[in-house]
Symmetry: C2
Subunit: 203 residues, 2 copies
DNA sequence: ATATATTTGTAACGGTCGGTATAAAACGCC
DNA sequence: GGCGTTTTATACCGACCGTTACAAATATAT
């Protein structure tokens, strides 16, 4: 993930780090959503002017897609790591605790950037919605397959609907994000997770 | 709920029905959220001009609070009716099926107006967020008490955390709304509900 | 008829939106 | 030092935002 290790071409060198600026932009989109984040919000947080932003990232929409890449790679890593857990229950545990840390932690904005930006959708931001929904669908497909495998391996009862269980787990993640964004305390959300896991189908 | 049964005062009578206009405004806010709904969107759907809207409803914010009243009394009736069900399981069933009809049905916009308007929050719309969150908290409190009663009546195991179970059920509602707004099919959401009820703590 | 009160449509207000034209500044290269 | 190239900062663009002044229109009351 290196960049700017040396000035490759001639011309005036840029005075800011693209990756740092992108990380700042991510925080703004995460906290305010695509529509809610203004160019003024972005440039102020990124510490650059608007022409610099446009030269480096294209426009607001292109910048959003790049921050969404960063968000998925860095902050949603837990959704991929969860799939490697040995049992369906441990997959769910990893998912739920990962959501707790990522969407209700103290370092980053509360809530889920995907939900925020896919819901508040101005007509012109259809491409943003499509991007978020596409990534979510692919992530959900992987979880369905993981639960199917769990049924074949016997650590999930055969009568369980893998598709339904996936939608259920994602609904819990979305609920956690919504409630975290609404100001729920960490204690409340931990009890939500504990109660969910207490109901999880046992092998 | 009567209104405009007779012209009470002098002056030119208004040429539109306040209740009809409010119902149209509700649909706009429901579909687009508070920030996403522009005055042009509202006046077009309501069939009135901007000065008429301001004279009848105050301003955009006051109009929103009035539509939120209408939303809660008409569309969220199921959350109150659910509490009258005889057992905790039937409460949950009523809640989940109500959410399915209300937030994923075909007559009204998909999703939940409260979630949409509380998440996408411009800085000046803090009053909107506070209104939505206050109503949600009071509704959640009633559900906690209902589950406490269920534990006392014996149709919910004593080891269950009523607060956690309430957060869990609300998370499911929020997940259903998010997924409905994202274009999930009715079949998918029904399987989500069925899977959730299959895991529900049995007496 | 006149006066008063309210709603109507038009047209505009200042402010913010995303996006850009322009020219000065800072570099490598010759 | 000049030249080409890229980034910088300022200042501005047209479009839309929520909101309102204003005057014509329509009602009741005198």
């Amino acid at each position: 993930m290196e960049s700017d290790i040396a000035t490759p071409v001639k011309g005036r060198p840029r005075e800011f780090c693209v990756d740092k600026a992108l990380a700042e932009a991510l925080h703004v989109f995460w906290a305010k959503g695509y529509d809610g984040a203004s160019m003024a919000d972005l440039t102020e947080a990124m510490g650059i002017t608007k022409p610099s932003l446009y030269a480096a990232f294209g426009n607001k929409e292109a910048l959003f897609h790049k921050t969404l890449d960063l968000y998925e790679t860095e902050k949603l890593e837990y959704t991929r790591a969860a799939l490697d857990q040995p049992t369906a229950r441990k997959v769910a545990e990893y998912y739920l605790h990962g959501a707790l840390m990522t969407h209700a932690g103290t370092t980053d904005p509360k809530g889920c950037m995907g939900i925020l930006s896919s819901l508040a959708c101005s007509p012109e931001a259809e491409s943003i919605k499509a991007d978020v929904l596409g990534r979510r669908a692919s992530s959900q497909r992987a979880l369905v397959e993981r639960f199917e495998r769990a049924k074949a391996e016997g650590d999930l009862p055969a009568h369980v609907d893998a598709q339904g269980l996936t939608s259920l787990l994602y609904a819990l993640l979305q609920g956690i994000s919504v409630q975290a964004g609404a100001g729920a305390t960490m204690d409340e959300l931990e009890r939500l997770v504990d109660t969910s896991l207490a109901l999880w189908p046992s092998r």
